[in-house]
Symmetry: C2
Subunit: 139 residues, 2 copies
């Protein structure tokens, strides 16, 4: 990457120096309580892992592109247990999450992956601090 423009999604506790830096870069910020964060943990059938990932990517792409209230979806696999997947989900608010569950792309994902997901644990969270760079030098 040549440069990175990053974001303070929400950080009511940020010192003014960091908030100032974000504002100076033209990146709006908001109070941390404004966003609604959830974590999903999934155990996928290893034999269907590739198919699961393809379905998840399609769903994530559509959600972030089509839904105003879906701010970020970060899906990662544990390096030493690739069938163990976590999704870190940032919505504008709880209503946006509820609306997300009713979208055609989410419903399609749910039904397509129903037989692939062995375990699913959903956790609602309270953000402590969500911080990311407004800009950074890159590689």
């Amino acid at each position: 990457m040549d440069a990175k423009q990053l974001l303070v999604i929400g950080a009511s506790a940020l010192p003014s120096s960091l908030v100032g830096s974000a504002v100076a870069q033209g990146v709006p910020h908001s109070g941390v309580q404004d966003s609604y964060v959830r974590v999903a943990e999934l155990e996928i059938d290893p034999a269907q892992l590739d198919a699961y990932k393809a379905a998840a990517k399609e769903e994530i792409e559509a959600s972030v592109r089509l839904e105003m209230g879906v701010l970020a979806l970060y899906a990662v696999a544990a390096k030493h247990d690739p069938a163990h997947i976590r999704v870190f989900e940032i919505y504008t608010d709880e209503d946006a999450y509820k609306a997300h569950l009713e979208t055609p792309h989410f419903r399609k994902y749910k039904s397509a992956t129903e037989g692939m997901v062995k375990q699913l644990k959903l956790t609602e969270t309270i953000p402590i601090m969500l911080a990311a760079k407004a800009t950074s030098g890159g590689r």
Copy 2:
């Protein structure tokens, strides 16, 4: 929030429509393999939770402000188990993570919180998809 400028941190698998949208907003993007993501899960002594959160916020603020390789640190507490904390960590690469561990602010955090953390589980991950909006309408 009035408006949000968001980011595609990395998404080699993103369809061109979404990448194009990010580029159109002046937000650089990069391949998903370019970033290095870790998840920390901590169980905090409930009696020391406020002190832990204060130390974590200070450390996160300093890391994102001072370290070029720290792209984002998102710390959240489980809503129904507030002493269970997860941190979703995005670095440019593994070297940036290793450098992070040697910084004065991280060392200060580690020693300050040593007696507060009852359990710590660190997971190295492989990103499947990291997607966030380049822009979105707000509420």
